[in-house]
């Protein structure tokens, strides 16, 4: 997963760096970017986007809202709940009212992980097994992902691993609704105002969704990964177009900002 990939002959980068740069480029100036605890790739992506092209973005970490595009560096946290990352905040007022203004979340972007993901982009953080009282694998719980994914303008599914145990035909439990049964109107039928999942990004590839029915489709493979490898590590029939491009590499400028101003500790290059 952490094989070194050459960038323009002179630099190499990790898969996590490629994932972070891919996500960063997809974020638009003016958006609000909310990241939960313990997700280094999205944490890096939103910082990079803010510094590269998002002077009007707002970063939302740990209940604080920040615009910190003017800082020399916006380093990644060193552990969960590292509150030093919010020391430049403009407000903490999300704290008491974090869910009292969801009618304003069309411009908010969020990132979810999962222990299972199905072809319609529904995800599971609850557990694996048939009986909820005796799970084979107990997950951490849904955190705030059901509420966030219900209301945000769009979200990204970001995983640390890509295996057939994660990408399953049907989640044992659903903690966030992606496209439900695959009907493009599934979300509106449920009354979920948010825009739903846009991409699913893993250490192997980027996936998007077909139009109708909504179903995960391979969009690009990361450098050094072949299409068959993705297919073999996916537990359902992934939609695979005839032509699958390689995920774009970071530019030297992006890599410089990422490494010098976002991730000077090299978290995205560490084997962990």
């Amino acid at each position: 997963m952490n094989t070194e990939i050459p960038v323009e002959q002179t630099q190499s980068c990790s898969v996590q760096e490629i994932m972070a740069v891919f996500l960063a480029r997809d974020l638009v100036d003016g958006e609000q970017l909310q990241v939960g605890v313990g997700l280094p790739v999205p944490e890096a992506a939103v910082r990079l986007a803010h510094l590269m092209h998002g002077p009007n973005m707002e970063l939302i970490f740990l209940g604080a809202r920040m615009n910190v595009a003017h800082l020399d560096s916006i380093p990644l946290p060193q552990f969960g709940w590292d509150r030093r990352v919010v020391r430049w905040a403009e407000s903490y007022s999300d704290t008491g009212h974090r869910f009292d203004h969801v009618n304003d979340w069309a411009k908010r972007v969020f990132f979810v992980g999962g222990i299972q993901v199905d072809p319609q982009g529904n995800t599971n953080l609850i557990g694996i097994g048939e009986d909820h009282r005796r799970l084979k694998f107990r997950g951490p719980g849904s955190v705030g992902t059901p509420t966030l994914t219900t209301h945000v303008g769009r979200y990204y599914i970001v995983l640390n691993t890509h295996t057939a145990r994660t990408f399953v035909p049907k989640c044992d439990f659903i903690s966030t609704v992606g496209w439900g049964d695959g009907d493009p109107n599934a979300r509106s039928k449920l009354g979920l105002p948010g825009g739903g999942p846009r991409y699913c990004v893993t250490p192997l590839c980027v996936m998007d969704f077909t139009e109708s029915p909504k179903r995960l489709r391979l969009r690009s493979v990361h450098p050094g990964v072949c299409v068959d490898e993705v297919r073999d590590h996916t537990g359902f029939d992934l939609v695979i177009p005839d032509e699958v491009p390689i995920t774009a590499l970071p530019t030297p400028a992006e890599l410089t900002v990422l490494r010098e101003r976002v991730d000077p500790g090299g978290l995205l290059r560490s084997p962990n």
């Binding site: 604080a64 403009e90 407000s91």
Partner: protein, 290 residues
């Protein structure tokens, strides 16, 4: 390195602020009242507004003929003004519709809007006449215990107008000594919020105490020193009691006397600066809070 100057400022003129309000819209007025913007609404002659408000600001908008429907928990003027006169006259004549409610019901409806819910339940008001006189309030049986509650529909202002002490140029607002009790509800429920402030301060000052920020970004700012006059502005000045009394007295009489008050203080000054000039600096300075 991205330049700070690329960040958009959110300061707009009083003209642009009121320019986003159209006849027939639902507007919410906070407390302390954003009187400068209220006067600009009267100057522009907006009509058929639904106003979520109370007290002086509500009454003067009714007096000026801007209002068709009132969503209010309280239309009195404090000591010695049990019922606001223009409100009373218009309501008794059937010229305005009153969406009868109370504070907890109103905040529940606003909170429902902010939470993206079609309604919120509330207990205060059960057993009263409120559900009878306001058919939008539905008495229902709760799905868990079967208790009798009131379902309050979401209340969504098109534009919320507030007055606050300070903000930076990016819309981070700080109330001195806390916002009025309903202001943040009105903000979160609204499609758009405009905050008039006594003072614009640096972004660094905002960052020096982020916990003091009461409204964060996404709002537009009007710089309006003394903008709540003749109402109070916490930390800056107290009510101009004689002018408030002058208004209520004119409103009690109505007709030409009320028209004269509105002309003098709302319609003739073409801007907030002209209004302050008419009031005079000495009078303003005498209103210091402590």
């Amino acid at each position: 390195m991205a330049s700070l100057s690329l960040r958009r400022e959110r300061i707009i003129s009083e003209h642009d602020a009121v320019g986003c309000i159209a006849d027939g819209m639902t507007i919410a007025i906070g407390e302390p009242h954003p009187m400068a913007l209220v006067r600009h609404i009267i100057r522009r002659g907006l009509r058929n507004l639904t106003v979520i408000g109370s007290g002086l600001a509500l009454d003067i908008l009714i007096a000026a003929g801007c209002v068709r429907k009132v969503i209010s928990y309280y239309a009195g003027g404090g000591y010695w003004v049990p019922v606001a006169p223009a409100f009373r006259r218009a309501a008794e004549a059937g010229l305005i519709e009153v969406w009868e409610c109370e504070e907890g019901i109103l905040t529940s409806g606003l909170e429902a809007a902010g939470k993206g819910l079609p309604f919120l339940p509330w207990r205060g008001g059960v057993g009263t006449s409120l559900p009878q006189v306001n058919p939008d309030l539905k008495v229902f049986s709760d799905p868990i215990n079967g208790e009798t509650l009131i379902a309050v529909p979401a209340i969504i202002p098109d534009v919320t107008l507030l007055h606050a002490a300070e903000s930076d140029a990016y819309g981070n607002v700080r109330h001195c000594g806390g916002p009025g009790w309903i202001d943040l509800f009105l903000h979160r429920a609204a499609r758009r919020t405009i905050v008039q402030v006594e003072k614009v301060i640096s972004n660094e000052e905002i960052r020096s105490n982020p916990w003091a920020t009461t409204i964060n970004s996404g709002v537009d700012i009007c710089r309006m020193p003394y903008g709540a006059h003749p109402f109070y502005s916490r930390g800056y000045y107290v009510q101009d009691k004689p002018l408030v009394a002058e208004y209520f007295s004119a409103a009690n009489v109505g007709g030409a006397e009320l028209g004269h008050f509105l002309d003098t203080y709302c319609r003739e000054p073409q801007s907030h600066a002209e209004y302050l000039t008419a009031i005079g600096i000495k009078r303003l300075l005498d209103l210091h809070e402590y």
